[in-house]
Assembly symmetry: C3
Homo-oligomer: 502 residues x 3
């Protein structure tokens, strides 16, 4: 490559692509050093950052903001960081002794994976709230729960068949990292070092990190912290616009197990967003209902600090996110009140299983929020609804939603009783024989009823999109059909295999 000599000394923070650069802020010497080489070898990163607020505003200026517009929630930002742009070095050299991947790189102690432990230097409140978010614990909540891990294994594992018998070989790390743990987050581990012959600086040594790359919401970082802020605040522009538009949520919530984006997009809210969003303001903090946007995105209802046109707070910013959510609607056999703690591996149902309900749908109430907390969360969410809808509208909608919670749970129970009868009859091997409840064809048809269809119906109900997702698109049409199929399968086998009952 002939571009080696192209290192440049001056970095202009002038950006033609949707530029922010209305401020001038000093770039630290260390960051300057990073940019000199990386602007040539990774122009995308550097250009993106140059358009970021981090490049345009110093922490000191950001800390001077009064009132609801304040973004730097940490009361004390280290003095040495306050007057320079939040550049490469400011994040990638922070807390070097805490990061297992810190390595010497052209005279600097760099770590590759920036974590919430770094971000909280300025954004302490958001980081703390996020720690209470069930998503921060998404790695352990899956990997550390033996029932979920069994389900994972039957989905990802390699199926082998020999002499009419079959078995599942556990998925390898690479498969797991790009499948379930793409969203849940991987566990990062430094597994050695490697020397690479680089274009600009010859041979250099780098850490080798198992589980990298990853930006999952529950990534286990090399400083022990949980999560990746970049999951939503995508590097290296970190634009609040990215986090507020629904496309970010879609990365992990598109379906069919959590068809949130698809349902939103087909709802009235989604219609208005798609039709009119180019005229909306996605960067204002606080975010004013009616003035900045005319229909909610995911963030407006669940995360953002939103105010009315008088400037009064309608809902406080929340990075815990579920504090506007009484019900947990997906991923489990039955919908149920949200868990009290974000670490769901602690939960035990009445049969001692790490599940928030038992197979009959009974809640493990000790581990779930109570009625008062559910009411509080409902009211917090409804404050947003009421900004555009009358009380009878909101009450009517909510009544239907809670009816649907009950109705879908009842249907899942019907399906569950059929699969239990299948297990009892020995037509499939279930938990009563210490076998996986997820590794046979008929068991997976049962799993479809709650993991796909009941979920979809509940999301369609919650977001007021009854049309196709509530009925035909993996909704009630498929749910009832699948129950009919389960029934047919069982009854036909009973006819055909009369002597097989144990």
């Amino acid at each position: 490559m002939k571009i080696i000599l192209a290192c440049v000394a001056a970095v202009s923070v002038l950006a033609p692509l949707g530029a922010l650069a209305d401020a001038e802020v000093k770039v630290s010497e260390a960051t300057q050093a990073c940019i000199e080489c990386h602007r040539v070898i990774h122009p995308g990163i550097v250009e993106d950052w140059q358009r970021s607020r981090h490049a345009a505003v110093s922490p000191k200026e950001a800390m001077a903001v009064k009132g609801l517009g304040l973004k730097v929630s940490s009361p004390s930002v280290p003095e040495e960081l306050q007057s320079v742009a939040v550049g490469c070095a400011e994040c990638h050299t922070l807390r070097p002794t805490e990061h297992a991947d810190t390595f010497e790189h052209n005279g600097y102690d760099i770590h590759i994976a920036v974590s919430p432990g770094d971000c909280r230097t300025c954004h302490a409140q958001e980081s703390e709230q996020y720690g209470k978010n069930i998503m921060a614990h998404a790695y352990k909540n899956l990997a550390g729960n033996k029932i979920f891990s069994d389900l994972e294994n039957t989905i990802l594992g390699g199926i082998q068949r020999k002499d009419g018998k079959w078995s599942i070989r556990p998925a390898n790390a690479a498969t797991r990292a790009e499948a379930c743990y793409y969203c849940h987050g991987t566990q990062l581990k430094v597994i050695g070092k490697e020397v690479r012959n680089t274009e600009l600086a010859g041979e250099l040594e780098f850490p080798k990190i198992d589980g990298w790359p990853n930006q999952g919401v529950g990534r286990v970082n090399l400083d022990g912290t949980l999560g990746s802020c970049a999951a939503c605040h995508t590097r290296h522009r970190f634009s609040i616009e990215t986090a507020r538009k629904p496309y970010t949520c879609k990365e992990c919530h598109v379906g069919p197990d959590v068809p949130v984006f698809k349902v939103y997009e087909a709802s009235k809210h989604g219609n208005l967003f798609s039709t009119h969003n180019r005229g909306w303001e996605f960067k204002a903090v606080p975010w004013t209902i009616g003035k900045d946007f005319a229909a909610p995105t995911c963030a407006a209802c669940h995360v953002s600090l939103v105010v009315n046109t008088e400037g009064e707070v309608v809902a406080q910013r929340s990075h815990q996110m579920n504090d506007r959510l009484p019900w947990r609607m997906f991923g489990l056999v039955y919908a149920h009140p949200h868990p009290r703690e974000p670490d769901t591996t602690l939960i035990r149902n009445r049969n001692g299983q790490p599940l928030p309900t038992d197979l009959e749908g009974g809640f493990a109430s000790k581990y779930l929020i109570d009625k008062a907390e559910m009411d509080r969360r409902r009211r917090t969410l409804q404050a947003v609804c009421l900004s555009c809808h009358g009380t009878s509208w909101v009450n009517g909608q909510w009544g239907r939603f809670e009816n649907t919670i009950r109705e879908t749970n009842a249907k899942t129970l019907t399906a569950t009783r059929i699969i239990q009868e299948v297990w009892e009859a020995g037509m499939a091997s279930g938990p009563d024989r210490k076998a996986s409840p997820f590794d046979e064809g008929i068991e997976r048809r049962w799993a479809d009823t709650w993991l796909i269809y009941a979920n979809t119906i509940r999301f369609a109900s919650a977001m007021g999109c009854g049309g196709d997702y509530g009925v035909f698109a993996e909704g009630r049409y498929q749910l009832n059909k699948t129950i009919m199929d389960l029934h047919d399968w069982l009854e036909f086998r009973k006819q055909m295999l009369p002597a097989k009952n144990p």
Copy 2:
């Protein structure tokens, strides 16, 4: 809440969010009174309305428009409405004695649900046309047809199973309202009153309305009129841009039973819309092909008043919508010529059933439009096509489309004959035993052939999107596969259950 005192007297019609406000128009005293409180408690509604044409132009000014740009089609608008903005009070206090939900509210007689009966005060022609639209009758067309209601019941109803037998418990009103009737429209009914302690005015009494909220196309209103203009002209901005972009149609037509939007989005037209629409003009009336837009949206082909660059009418505005549609392509066992009357409960096939075809595919021709009318509608639609395509292109495309009508009907017939054999063999209980044809697993697989796959293929054909939706995405791949499955199911059971034939 401390915001009670925030009521304000002056309302500026100045709007930073995609503002229209190029006109000044007087706001009535009554509307002013509404806004004073509601701008605080429902800022979203008020802000939206302030950006609407209704807030910016008086009926008098709108009536003065000459030529094709005229939007107020009523020749006579009541004098007292002509000179003020079309605000809260103008609509929500109109025709108080006609609305069952009219109630006294701070000195005004308000009704909650505004109906086409109100909108026709200014938009008489659109309202009249819409009455002929099959969508206006969507509530009764479903709820009043015993075969469709049976299908609805097997989709929405709760399935119970006892002693190896199962039964369907009819869905409750809340489920029905948020599922099928979310799009079809609910029947509104005042079922009492309730007192609520309001933030700004203490205790107030409001009507309780069963079926509320709803914006379905065939809503049965409290003044007896049918439909909700807000289904497409979303409250409270009522922007023609909303109705003209395809995202509105998507709310009810996304699939898989009517996958119109998905097919459109993957078509050449949809590609051009997605790629270039931000440079198009969606508010111009009339709408000029080539100048205002370079590829059609749903509205351009089916609804809008479109003209060529000479200003000559290519197609007249139609709120009947199907007057550019010879064939009815979805929701029924076979595609068929459009019904003559929008109330389809009147139809009887040769077996006396309320269906536009019999089970063999024969048309109930007496109730369907004739060849001459089909030709007229085809020509009306093709006038739009021909604005961008040559005659041989358009004829070639149409020939394929009508071929596909025949071919998909033939495939549905093959599937139907298999299910009939299943019924005859007693392997499922069908109409010959007075049982539902929709409530067993194998019957639902048959229903898939026409309700999902044949529909999808026809839409892909109609919109020139043969690619994935015509073949792999719930298209011909699945249709043939499902027929193969039906055949396998029947033949295997015949082998296994030789003595069961009646």
Copy 3:
């Protein structure tokens, strides 16, 4: 029609809709003659062209561009074309003796279907590269391969059933043209002439073309050339913006057999595109990473000439497209190295079948690119990745991708062994009985494993979208489930039909 007299003489190249018109260029007399009538009868075409670069820049001006911005790659454009706009006549009267559809039309020899043979007059390099693109050969690669044609037939053909036996009737030409060949391209054939009574010029004679309309990527044109540039560079604006946005690729690559767009849209790249693209520059040539766009579209990775912010080439423009692709991931039973030649009908596996692998997954290596070429292509692609990602990121991602190639191939092999056992047991009729491997229900379930699910998983892996498409949305969840179902089906039949083994 009264518009006959509306022919106009003057054509303004002034366009309010996203206009380009910053240049003045002479329109040829012939094109002027076309426009005079066609602007009235097909305003959409004319308006679109008026906004095109073809209308605004003469070939001579375009040829004068120095460096990477040069778009006219032909060293010699005929003198008579150099100084006029590239208008109707310039393309539709080019090489009249070569086009079988050339006909006399108002004094001009016009052909309807413009081909790459015409476009290469100015765009020689692109045309030549495209000839090496497997897509250019998409017609023959399907129609001329007896195994693929058999699959096509079982998807498109009409299914008839009589006396418990069934048969497939080959699909007619109209069905084929709008289904598989909509994307693959039809074979155009002049099959006669027809006289039409035209609005503006009375009776005129036109050629009748079988296979028209079509814009498929492998269209067999009436001059013998292959392909349709308009597949991506949509007529008549031919905007590079259209080709660079992902919506164009979506027309044929939306799924579920090639769910590229759906996966892209749910990826981080797709998120950034959806969120921020309105601020990006889609017309710049060359296309600068970071400056013109902040996340890649399909074109950026696979087609476009992209440069870094120093103006240095990161990847050369390619209309062969697969020269950045080592692996072929879809449409066949196993993923495999790309074929050497774009005409894949030449390939023979070790069993003499026209397939790139045998049924056990062994590669027909003689016909596929070798390791060195795969490495070259990988490095070409990775140069784009490295513009925004570090080496360890890119290597980590690629390692997972190749792991997924192996893992999905292994799963397909498990599924294939089950269907082979089904065939051997005589429970379905497969190739060992000279029967189609695609025409029975259970065979189609096998086909799902590779044609739908393994594909989807590989695309999710390739584009870093492990979330839903890699797991639940036609990914690993369905793949393993389908293998479980195949196993169940076989074992149950073995139990039920013990004597049927041959």
